[in-house]
Subunit: 416 residues, 2 copies
């Protein structure tokens, strides 16, 4: 037994799993998933349970105006900013048990393990629950980590409305989780987020740990194609300006661009709406959204150019008008070298099969990285499926990720 | 003035136009169109107005179980079956003022003109409003003329459900238009339907009248493409089974088939729905409908084969599952020679520029032709546009069509 291995701690994987399964009962769906939308009564119930668990583990919970929760296990050196471990407790409408909850409850498990071993850290350890990461009820996603990092104003975040017109601010007050702390005033020494990969790479390569070095650059577009609505029977083919035929060619072009800019590109049309969407009417208008991602912003710009050129060419050839706007551009994120190194070292010391990777998805960590040194840890999920009730990560994967989180945090917080 | 021209009657074009504009207020849309879906409160309002107008014109209105309305102006010879003039008062969701309403209100205008001239006919004249011609709320279209002609059972027609699960039968009872008469028991001596062309041919050839000799063969399909729902960020392009990309290729194949089987073919995907339709989720499932038409049923069968082969090939190449069903097949219709001749003679006697043609669209007349001698009359509509709020037929075209309808009906009903 070497000095290094002596220094390693292991979490209680069964306790972590039990906490995950208990939390998943709040908003449990018939198909084994979770529906726990932000600022609903179920969200309150999840927060109440999380706060009680944290207090039982000796933490003090502070809550800011947007409901971001910081549960603090004090450290020896009060002059140091805390090392925060967290994620989110809200879910997609047909979400799974692990997306978000794993990162929060693994943070709690880290605290419980430190308590069990009576370990004092130099910096405090905090477990964080960020409000409204999914953006399913209140768009955009990562609202409150974004406000924490200054990407959005607090007023903007509070004024986000659901489809019934209720705002995030009033709903957080309603459930009693609009706290007294100023958003962003609570500074962090570092932030680590454990998350399921939500993709198939780790599983395919039989790795248990992803050392996440940053996030992709991303562009979102909205496109409206306008042709001529006409009766499907008496309108000869050569007189049509069919908006759906043109949009179908653009969907194909988006997909082709994704394949051409490998490695690294992702290109998706996930949302498309046909007007008037009647089976015997030649479609007059189609709206669709494009999601482009690439680790390299320069390549993303080339993809942007390709999209604009090809969509315009399709529109011209199809006799339709096209309105194409880039509505959001997020440059790539590079996580903090020391935080990445803490994760890398922990995985190596634990002897876990690991690889470095870029996060394809958005996460609270992407925004928090603007305000504090940050890194992420991924664990595999079955078939890469997420945002889906069938989402599943094994107890072994969850425990392995938690062990990396705990030991990376210890390295950053300082021990003895 | 010859005997022939003496016998000719002319309708009151201004009165017809005023009735069309009054009816178009029920369900009027901001863009000048009409949204009057079957068995809605607006449909009830339109039926109430039509019934009142018919009663004011001395007619007796009978209603069958599916809400088909027959407004009778008695004839001299009670042993003869009535000569019916009609169409439908329901509309597309973004429909126009003329599709359907013109045929019904021109029938009413014919009755009003006969009243004005105190003309007694041998056979009775009836004005008919068929329920749910469009099929927009309850598929399939022409539900109730189809049930009248024995194409569908009444149970089938009544059990058609909208997207909220409400059935045509219960909704017709709700609006008070499920009548006491047995569907199909009310026999007709002949049926004439005036309709806008809904295509560009008459306008392009500067004809005022289309003598419609029959209808195209038609096939409707429903397709469900099932891929794998996945997160748009972390799912590499080469691991995707994107249902929308596959569906887009099938839309393109449908369009190509329409172009290949010229002259005469029409091929349309008018309806398409993406699931879950979220901009950062790779679509897991797409549903779409295909509308195929051709005057020759043998060619339509070749189109059917081409669709099945190409859609299956796209599914295999795209890694998705495909469920493709032909849900409706309507063979070509040949209208009744005597009815066609009555229309042809009326147009000639009135000195109106006319041409013979095949109906590209489905109409109640296509089904009624199975139960009674039938023909149709088309008038031009601007730019061939229909199933569109911009749909427009001139007062002159409407009046010319009504004159042909009236005089053809007189010829069939017998006068003096």
């Amino acid at each position: 037994v070497t000095a290094v291995s002596e220094a390693l701690l292991k979490c209680d994987g069964e306790r972590l799993w039990a906490s995950l399964m208990r939390m998943a009962k709040i908003g449990a769906t018939e198909k084994g998933g979770v529906c726990r939308l932000t600022a609903t009564d179920l969200d309150r119930e999840a927060r109440d349970l999380f706060a009680r668990w944290c207090e039982e583990a000796g933490c003090t919970v502070k809550i800011d105006r947007l409901g971001n929760m910081f549960a603090r296990r004090p450290g020896r050196d009060a002059s140091r900013f805390p090392i925060a471990l967290g994620s989110h407790l809200d879910s997609q409408p047909t979400g799974g048990k692990f997306d978000g909850a794993l990162g929060v409850l693994a943070g709690l498990e880290a605290v419980r393990t430190l308590n069990h071993h009576n370990i004092e850290t130099a910096a405090a350890i905090e477990v964080v629950n960020w409000t409204n990461e999914e953006g399913s009820r209140f768009a955009p996603p990562m609202t409150s980590s974004g406000a924490y990092a200054g990407v959005f104003t607090v007023d903007y975040a509070e004024s986000r409305a659901d489809t019934d017109g209720r705002t995030l601010g009033e709903e957080m007050r309603r459930i009693g989780y609009a706290g007294p702390e100023d958003v962003g005033a609570h500074r962090l020494g570092a932030y680590l987020e454990l998350h399921i990969e939500q993709g198939p790479v780790l599983e395919a390569e039989r790795k248990l740990v992803g050392i996440v070095t940053g996030g992709q650059a991303q562009r979102w577009y909205e496109a409206t194609v306008v042709g001529q609505e006409a009766h499907a029977g008496p309108t000869p083919m050569d007189r049509r300006r069919d908006a759906l035929v043109a949009a179908a060619r653009m969907v194909e072009a988006v997909n082709a661009i994704g394949h051409e800019f490998q490695p690294g590109a992702c290109a998706t049309v996930g949302h498309l709406q046909v007007h008037p969407n009647s089976r015997n009417v030649v479609p007059g208008r189609v709206f669709f959204a494009v999601d482009f991602r690439h680790p390299d912003d320069a390549v993303l710009s080339e993809m942007d150019t390709a999209l604009r050129e090809r969509a315009a060419a399709v529109a011209a050839a199809s006799g339709v008008a096209l309105d194409l706007d880039c509505i959001w551009h997020c440059p790539p994120t590079r996580f903090d070298a020391e935080c990445i190194d803490a994760v890398r070292s922990a995985a190596r010391d634990l002897g876990l099969p690991a690889r470095e990777m870029i996060s394809g998805a958005g996460h609270d960590a992407i925004y928090v990285a603007k305000a504090a040194p940050t890194a992420m840890i991924f664990v595999p999920c079955r078939d890469g499926i997420s945002h889906n009730e069938a989402e599943y990560a094994s107890p072994e994967a969850c425990a392995a990720g938690c062990d990396v989180l705990l030991n990376a945090a210890l390295r950053l917080a300082g021990r003895d």
